[in-house]
Amino acid sequence: MTAAALPPALPRIKAPGRGVLHAVSTEAKLLLVGIPVLIWTLLPIYHLCLFAFSDRKSAFAGNLWPADVTIRNFEIVLGQKHYFLTHFWLQMWNSVFVAAMTGIITLVVATFAAFAISRLKVKGGRTVLNMALFTYFIPAAFLAIPMYRTMGLYGLLGSQWALILAMVAIASPYAIWVLKQASDKLPLELDEAAIVDGASPMQLFRLVYIPLMGPSLVAVGTYAVLLAWNEYLYAFLLLSNDRSLTLPVALGNFLSADDSPWELLMTTGLIYALPPAAIYYVFRRYMVSGLTAGAVKS
């Protein structure tokens, strides 16, 4: 019968069939990983939003989605209409100030250092870099304890500058390291050409180095800003006055009360978490390349 004609055709029919089956099973396996990863990642964040957009009753009833979507909580927080929130805008400003100052000072300090080490080849530059990385071998919470005492000795305790300088000390080593990696890649001929034209070191820095380092500077600045904005422990230790607190410390203080207005706490938390998320997504390209440039080397 047709059997004679079939054998040569069989493999040709079967091959794409098996291919499709194989592809489907690969997709299924990927989904089997992807869906749990998505749920795991978003669950705490979803719960945060759920609380922010629900009224107190609905939130405390354990609903999986808001019974009534309301922006009442945002009105209370932004209007500072709760005694926990009387300084909300001031604390928001404090957070902005600390993050911005940390970003600026880190950029200045780290760019100078990276330029000196990488382009001016200052003697002992390599040692400075290795010493700087030592900062990350001290567990953060452990460094915080003597830092608290030293800030007291310096007379900075309670001032926002204590927090800013602590954050600069923590952000700078990574910043210098990323900037040095990037500036090592700039061709030496650029410097030589500038020198032949009679450029001074500072002219070289301003006119040649800075314009070429743009993307790395963005990455480093973003990193420092996010670090300072997100910091809880150092802020919690170094700031004490109600009017100088940053937002995370104010959020932590909610916990000390028994009748904490959790829906307001979550709403404030959501507002506080939005800027870093937005900054991260805007500058993601720069940050990821900076981050991974280091990793492959190690």
Partner: protein, 292 residues
């Protein structure tokens, strides 16, 4: 090293007339490094030395070892490090393989996946804390709705609470390590996998003979660094359990801060110094790896 070998020639070319001494280039170099060195000395080196000086009294260790919380804390810390780091790094290694697949939805997922790392810890940890509330939390209310039975009192059981803080820690830091390991995987030459595919290697064999040998060094470096950073993780424990119930879920980081808040500075310093036998070998290995 090679960097110092290059330095005279740039300076020499710039100022050929000056044979010895400080060239303006070197002088500028020093002036530009000094701000960072000041920051480093004032806010890293001095605090560290000061900590050692404050912690030199043997009496504070005696008091520390007498505190019943301390022993529990050490055990907690070791368990926390062992479980959290191995779990986190193993999952990060697997997930880095997952994110290697080129699909439009995986690209979107990878963007979402970074969120825990980019977003501050306090709102998300407090969100989880409320989820776990035995009466009002969404988890126990859902359990009750489905089974008509009360769920566990999550944060009131020391072991469960410590485990949940580990999960919190992993939730927060997993994206970072996955990203690092992903970049390690991307650096592996593609033709190695193509050659293996021609030879009919299974995916397990590919992992065993190509991925792992190329990644082992990076994986170990990451695990060591992660150990140091996990030791310094205060938020995951403090904000979720507050060290409770009955101070049974403290780790060294939260215990040190607890003493500091009680104005027991010497005890606080002694607490962190007891971690040195663990930290010093790690720092030694890391320094050796970095200077290679």
């Amino acid at each position: 090293m090679s960097t110092t070998a290059v330095s005279p020639d740039l300076g020499a070319r710039a100022v050929p007339a000056r044979p010895r001494g400080l060239t303006p280039w070197q002088a500028w170099g020093i002036a530009l490094v000094v701000p960072y060195i000041l920051v480093f000395v004032l806010f890293v080196i001095y605090p560290v030395l000061y900590a050692f000086w404050l912690a030199h009294e043997p009496e504070s260790y005696e008091r520390l070892f007498d505190d019943p919380i301390f022993f529990r804390t050490v055990v907690n810390t070791l368990v926390f490090l062992f479980v959290a780091i191995n779990l986190k790094m193993a999952v990060a290694l697997l997930l880095s393989g997952f994110f290697l697949h080129e699909r439009w939805w995986i690209k979107i997922l990878s963007v979402i996946f970074i969120l825990p790392w980019a977003v501050p810890s306090i709102p998300t940890i407090l969100s989880v804390r409320f989820m776990l509330n035995p009466e009002w939390g969404v988890i126990n209310q859902t359990i009750f709705r489905l089974t008509f039975e009360d769920g566990p009192n999550w944060l009131n059981d020391p072991q469960l609470a410590l485990f949940l803080s580990m999960l919190m820690h992993i939730w927060k830091s997993l994206p970072f390590w996955t990203l690092i390991l992903l970049s390690g995987r991307l650096a592996i030459a593609k033709d190695l996998y193509e050659a293996a595919a021609v030879d009919g290697a299974s995916s397990l064999q590919k992992f065993r003979w190509i991925t792992w040998p190329s990644m082992a060094q990076l994986y170990l470096t990451c695990a060591l660094l992660s150990t140091i950073w996990t030791l310094g993780d205060f938020n995951s424990v403090y904000l979720l359990t507050g060290g409770g119930p009955a101070d049974l879920t403290h780790v060294l980081a939260t215990l040190g801060i607890r003493y500091l808040r009680l104005a027991e500075v010497d005890m606080s310093m002694a607490t962190i110094v007891t971690a040195l036998p663990l930290i010093l070998p790690l720092v030694y290995f890391m320094m050796k790896r970095l200077s290679r």
